[in-house]
């Protein structure tokens, strides 16, 4: 009783105090306080609410971020703005009060974009990761994939080639498939795009969410199994605001890490020894290797150059009374570090939203874009990839003739032969045309209507268009196959593609809170259709190299000339129920039903449900005792999702109508059923379980997120061999099963928060997979140098285990040999089956798994520092425990000496007395002997490719002083691909993988092959951000 009374008195006191205060404020003249509100980086914030605490007095900052408010001394001003931490400041008699708001990074208030909506981060029950995109805005790169490297737990991002605008291999939670695509689904402003994500201007992006588990992705149904990347573009907010961002820089390929090849003298010395060791007379050209001193040509280096890049972006945002607009105009221009390589992008995005009434909004987003790319066929296998070719071209061959002109064709002079003749790769790179011109348009239009409170009806119509023109022209003087003299036959390929993808979505959302119960119900249906038409014309034998037009060609290659039409359609129904009790017990159920033209007629519809639940432990009363724990949430999910990247017409039996008969002298058109139909063909199914913990400590200064996932992918699309008595060789079926599991940790810490601010973002991921089953009666599938075998991880390197070389006769006699081929000094392989001989393939195969292209773990670490006006950001990315197959050694270490060789071959076996380092074997005996180590894949080709790379270092300085020209400015300097720590010896890029460029090696089954792709350059830039 007494207690109650005291409490009553307290309340009375407060009420009286407030009353007096109000009286006071209304009857006396107050001084006016004014100022500007900015964010941490000095950018102006318009629309910030400014109020005097304890009163109903308030205002908003204007377009220049300024406010004026009447407030007395010692009263408290409260500044609040969505996405930023509220700030309270006491008025101290000073007339001007400028404040800077900090982005609120607490679990509680952050709003996260999720599939078909947004949610408070606190209430999310799935595994969704967002990227602090602001911190990445100054990375001087062309693609968002490069920006995301090292930022995301559970997402492996490798830059497989340094080609501008290309080669980012993004895998969420290790997802892969035998023959279906494994790229995540990219959704831009709600529209799943079909084009290349690499060409999006990164400056248009405001926010990225990565959806990883089934609960967060199941609303994308049959396209969700590879994970979903949600991209939100910039919207108008905060008054009128113009900013201009630009950077310019240069790129170089560091010398460190390049493959060390023999120089002219060393190679001549090798040839000299080659003949000497074989007991043959040394050809005159090699009798005196020293004569080539000073005649060395580094063909690889000759293809490289220091190349500039520039980027310009102008952003305008406007938040009017009844409309919001943002405009981003960008120009990006990158010359490649390989000669004649160029990449340009011109882009514009206009996002507008209009309030027709208080209940109706319409919006239009329009993003046209033009991308030009010319890459003179830098990557690829021997004969195709110019960089690979240049690498092993003999260094004495001249690049320029005595007149200073590029030579035409390089044949070794004299009678030695046996050195392969090649085109001049510098000329080839210079003259080859391999250009793509893409005109893209991405548009969204939507109408949102709120008939009653809590209910939103939204209808969107999205269109994506692409017009693409490709031209390849190999003039007669450019390049040809090995040993084929130049001039050769000029060849052109031109292809034009027209693509149209449209999506209509109709969604209804109803949100309601009744006491402690909050519901949100989403229901919708969508239709999407994709159509692509292409025309390809291949022509050859030109009368004049200066004209690449088809009419200049003497021959049209019918086999390479065709029309294509690709179409698919998707009709879907989706629904989600979100419920929470007191924001503490969270529950979500979602389901999508997809009908797809890609699926067989008897299996047209798939259902993809998920459930998830979360428990915000920190909201429980008993947690009050653990004050250091500011936030704790346990969440778990389970669901079924699909992968529909199975091809558009795979379920159909196709008719080949070119199987013509002959009767007498008449050709009779004939047609056969060339493939088997499978009316049951469907999506690949992934069932995924996830459990996670979100933790905030010390008032969320330390934020920790952990996830464990386990997923089973079944119904893998696979072209099963069938008995050909059927009249067919293969049948496309859904079979096989892979299990994936992994652990992901991310940790964000604010290490220092005073004058020197230091934040660290660390994430580490462990992804594993195992093949559980393949087809009935099939326990393994071979890739080019790989095996995918039941009970083992996917796509393992497969070959012989090398044990050095046979050192002497006794060693040879006492060891298993390759019958008729092994000699003293040749490679010594392991007899795995103990039958006494070494066999490659067949029933007595001695090959085993010899390496793993998948890392044990990957991690990323980003440190950012702020001190006064300085900021420093360092991004690191690492992958540990993965191997690469150094495939180019089949040419660059070909002991027959027909190409230039890696320096290490100097230390090969030459005699018992001079056994070398035991790595490369004897050259004596020709292909019968050397072919074993060259052509039989063995463990010497496998190299540990673990790396830690400082991807980016950026140092910036902000000028906050408003002046006539700008409100604020920031200048910065940045180094991309700054430092690489690796023991990888196979080439400059330990992230490479030939297959992911679609070049050569058997696709999904053959990852991690190094063919000496385009190296990733180091880029030095200087940039400036201006805010007006």
């Amino acid at each position: 009783m007494k207690q109650n009374f005291t409490s009553f008195l307290g309340k009375m006191r407060d009420a009286i105090f407030a009353f007096v205060l109000v009286l006071y404020s209304s009857s006396f003249a107050f001084s006016q306080v004014q100022g500007t509100v900015t964010d941490q980086s000095g950018e102006i914030l318009a629309g910030v609410s400014v109020s005097v605490k304890g009163t109903n007095k308030g205002t908003l900052t204007d377009m220049n971020g300024t406010y004026k408010i009447d407030a007395s001394n010692n009263s408290i001003l409260v500044f609040s703005f969505v996405g930023y931490a509220s700030l309270e400041k006491t008025v101290t008699g000073n007339q001007t009060l400028n404040v800077s708001l900090e982005v609120d990074e607490k679990f509680l208030s952050e709003v996260v974009v999720v599939g078909y909506g947004s949610q408070l981060k606190k209430e999310i029950t799935g595994a969704v990761q967002t990227v602090d995109y602001k911190d990445l805005k100054d990375l001087p790169v062309s693609q968002i994939g490069q920006k995301l490297q090292g930022q995301l737990a559970g997402v492996q991002i490798n830059q497989t080639t340094g080609k501008p605008g290309q080669g980012m291999n993004i895998r969420i939670r290790g997802q892969l498939s035998v023959s279906a695509g494994s790229d995540p689904l990219y959704v831009i402003d709600g529209f799943p795009i079909t084009g290349n994500i690499g060409s999006i201007n990164p400056d248009e992006i405001e926010d990225i969410s990565i959806l990883k588990d089934a609960a967060s992705t199941s609303l994308y149904g049959s396209r969700a199994a590879n994970g979903v990347v949600l991209i939100t573009t910039k919207k108008g907010k905060g008054g009128t605001h113009i900013s201009f961002n630009t950077f310019a820089g240069i790129q170089q390929v560091p010398v460190k890490g390049r493959i060390e090849m023999m120089d002219a003298v060393e190679f001549a010395q090798f040839k000299n020894e080659y003949y000497t060791d074989a007991g043959q007379p040394v050809p005159i050209e090699f009798q005196n290797p020293k004569q080539y001193e000073g005649k060395n040509n580094d063909w690889y280096d000759a293809l490289l150059r220091t190349a500039p890049l520039q980027s310009y972006n102008l952003t305008l945002t406007n938040n009017g009374e009844k409309s919001r607009t943002s405009v981003v105009a960008g120009v990006f221009n990158q010359e490649g570090v390989v000669i004649n390589n160029a990449y340009q992008r011109y882009s514009l995005r206009i996002n507008s939203e209009f309030d027709i009434s208080s209940k109706v909004k319409v919006g239009f987003n329009l993003a046209p874009q033009y991308v030009y790319d010319n890459t003179p066929r830098t990557d690829g296998d021997r004969g195709t990839g110019i960089l690979f070719n240049a690498l092993h071209t003999w260094p004495v061959m001249p690049i320029y003739d005595s007149n200073g002109d590029l030579t035409l064709f390089n044949k070794f002079p004299g009678s030695t032969g046996n050195i392969f003749a090649y085109a001049n790769w510098v000329r080839a790179a210079d003259q080859l045309v391999n250009e793509t011109k893409n005109t893209n348009l991405l548009t969204n239009a939507y109408l949102a209507y709120q008939p009653i409170k809590g209910l939103t009806l939204k209808s969107t119509f999205n269109v994506e268009m692409l017009g693409s023109k490709f031209l390849f022209f190999n003039p007669s003087t450019a390049t040809s196959a090995i040993n084929t003299p130049i001039p050769t036959t000029a060849v052109s390929i031109r292809e034009s593609i027209d693509r149209l993808s449209w999506l209509n979505e109709n969604l209804a959302t109803y949100a309601k809170t009744i006491n402690d119960h909050s519901f949100e119900i989403l229901a919708g249906f969508t239709n999407q259709k994709f159509t692509q038409e292409s025309t390809r014309i291949q022509a050859d034998t030109y009368s004049d190299d200066r004209i690449s037009a088809v009419q200049g060609a003497i021959n049209i290659n019918r086999g390479g000339t065709n029309n294509g039409v690709e179409e698919w359609s998707l009709t879907s129904l989706l629904s989600r129920l979100t419920y929470n009790y007191k924001g503490k017990y969270l529950f979500t159920a979602a389901v999508r039903r997809d009908g797809s033209s890609r699926f067989g007629s008897d299996n047209r519809w798939g259902t993809f449900p998920s459930v998830s639940a979360g428990w915000v432990i920190s909201d429980e009363g008993f947690m009050a005792n653990y004050s250091k724990i500011s936030f704790a949430k346990l969440r778990t999910s389970y669901g079924v999702i699909g992968n529909n990247n199975i091809g558009n017409y795979t379920s159909y039996a196709l008719i080949n109508n070119t199987v013509n008969g002959v009767f007498g002298s008449t050709v009779a058109p004939g047609a056969i059923v060339s493939s088997l139909a499978n009316s049951n063909l469907g999506w690949e199914t992934t069932k995924q379980f996830d459990i996670g913990l979100d933790l905030g400590l010390y008032n969320d200064r330390i934020q920790f997120v952990y996830d464990y996932y386990n997923k089973h992918t079944t119904n893998l699309l696979y072209s099963v061999q069938v008995a050909q008595e059927a009249g067919f060789s293969n049948f496309n079926d859904n079979i096989g099963q892979i299990n994936f599991w992994g652990h992901e940790f991310s940790l964000n810490t604010k290490n220092l928060t005073k004058a020197l601010r230091w934040n660290t973002n660390f994430n580490i991921s462990f992804n594993r997979n195992k093949v559980i089953a393949l087809a009935e009666g099939i326990d393994r599938v071979y890739g080019t140098f790989h095996i995918t075998q039941v009970g083992q991880p996917f796509g393992q390197f497969y070959g012989h285990i090398a044990q050095g070389v046979y050192l002497n006769k006794a060693d040879l006699d006492s060891s298993p040999q390759v019958p008729g081929r092994s000699v003293v000094g040749s490679i010594k392989l392991t007899d795995q089956n103990g039958d006494g001989i070494i066999t490659n393939g067949g029933n007595f195969d001695d090959r085993v798994i010899m390496g793993n292209p998948f890392p044990k773990f990957t991690f990323g670490i980003t440190n950012s520092f702020n001190y006064k006006n300085f900021d420093l950001n360092i991004v690191g990315y690492s992958s540990i425990g993965h191997s690469l197959l150094v495939r180019h050694l089949y040419s660059t270490a070909n002991l027959d000496g027909v190409f230039n060789l890696v320096k290490e071959v100097q230390y090969r076996f030459r005699s018992e007395a001079n056994p070398g380092k035991g790595f490369y074997g004897t050259t004596v005996g020709g292909g019968n002997v050397t072919g074993i180590e060259r052509d039989w894949m063995n463990s010497r080709f496998v190299a540990d490719a673990s790396f830690f790379t400082i991807k980016n270092i950026t140092l910036g300085y902000t000028i906050n002083k408003k002046n006539k020209i700008f409100n604020s400015a920031r200048i910065y300097t940045s180094i991309q691909q700054a430092l690489q720590f690796t023991k990888y010896w196979g080439g400059p890029n330990p992230e490479t993988s030939a297959q992911s460029n679609g070049q050569g090696d058997g696709g999904n089954l053959s990852p991690g092959v190094d063919l000496s792709n385009y190296p990733v350059p180091r880029t030095y830039t200087l940039g400036i951000n201006l805010n007006f």
Partner: protein, 502 residues
Amino acid sequence: MKKTLIIILFLSGLNSGCKGDFLSLTPATSLSSATFFVSENDFKQAVNAAYVPLRTIYNDRNWLLNEMHSDNTYYARNILFGATEQQEDIADFAVPTANGVTSNTHVLNEYRQDYQIIARTNQILALIDDVDFDAASKANLKGQAQFLRAFAYFDLVKLFGKAPLHLEPVIDRQGAALPLAEAPELYTQIISDATAAIANLPLKSKQEAGRVTSGSARTLLADVYLTQKKWAEAETLLQAIVSSGEYTLMPTYEQAFSDTDANKNNKESVFEVQYLQGSAGLNGTFMYNFLPRPIAPDELLPITGTSNPQPLTGEGNNIPTPDIIAAYEDGDTRKDASIGYVTLGGSLRDNKVYPYIKKYAKKHSLHNNTGSNWPVYRYAEVILMLAEAQAEQGKTADAANNLNIVRTRAGLGATTASSQDALRTAIYNERRVELAFENKRWPDLVRTGRALDVITAYGNRIKSKPLDYYYPSGAVARSNAFSNISLLYGLPADESALSPYF
């Protein structure tokens, strides 16, 4: 008003996706099963394509399995050239066979090509009755499909003795492989198809040249009956062919065989595999396969009429043996028409003169590209089959008369054989020389029960006198030669790996 507009917009969105065919998208640049087999023209195309595997069979494989796998032809060993064991194993009766399967690639390919015909004809026969079009055209198309299916199964049963029996199109993975059917079951099907084909097919004079006719089907069925020793049934069919008046022997033996462009499907032709010279890939190359090697450009020119800057390397196949050369009677004009001789400067033998098959070596314009057809059934064979059927039934006079028709054209006198036994032998020998290099020798040896004796003796001759069989001096027959003289080939190992049934 505004509200109404919004509702209309929203509902129009609802409608856009509800059309039934929104999800049915068929390939637009190639036909698919969803759009094919709906018209007469579709079935015509399907039938045309069902003939196509025969081009591969006769160009590449059948002569290996049925002619070089006999005492008529052998390979001309070129010790400078390797990777020839697949062919040599066949000629040497040394095809490696274990548990009834063999890894020989030629066996595999012939098997697979036969099943290509079977799969294509099954597709036609399963669907054609569901589509309504001109009855005469439909019967003709059905008849052709039935003939081709019977023909393919006849090839399989002769080579393997048993084979999976597919009569419906395969539609799923489980149905791809079927249990092996034994010979009686296969023959029942062959006879049923061939009988139906006879009824459905028109006479040669009513059929487009080159397609099978009722005469072709009767010959096929008679061939089957001879194999089964059903002499009377065979005779009836063969008599019907003779009395149809559709066929005569060409004036000379040489004229019986087609040129690269002319003389195709002539009056003697009952069924030919059709080739067309040119770049469309419809040509044959078999006459080049039958040349001894290495052959220099100037040695090639008189034979083919074509010039090629490079010599043809490798090892020559299907080279006439001394045995077949000796089998011709004196004065037989067929000998010079069938066999020619060429001197190879690049040969490692002391005697650089090689015989080669001349009857197909018609001059043409494109190197390694000819349009000469392959004679599968000729009227001369119909007459010899008739003679054999009659002789076996004791109708010796009729048999001798028919035999003499063929002998007369060859410039030979009437046969001296009069007893059933003597006539039988005479007919066998007549078949050997009349049908030399037409892939009849091995099946004839098998069906007449002479294979083991003939081949064993032949093998002994090769092993004792390798020089006579085109080995260079010092070379001998391989150690495994004539180690596996069996009447049937093993089933292909690659198919065995994919089938649970063998």
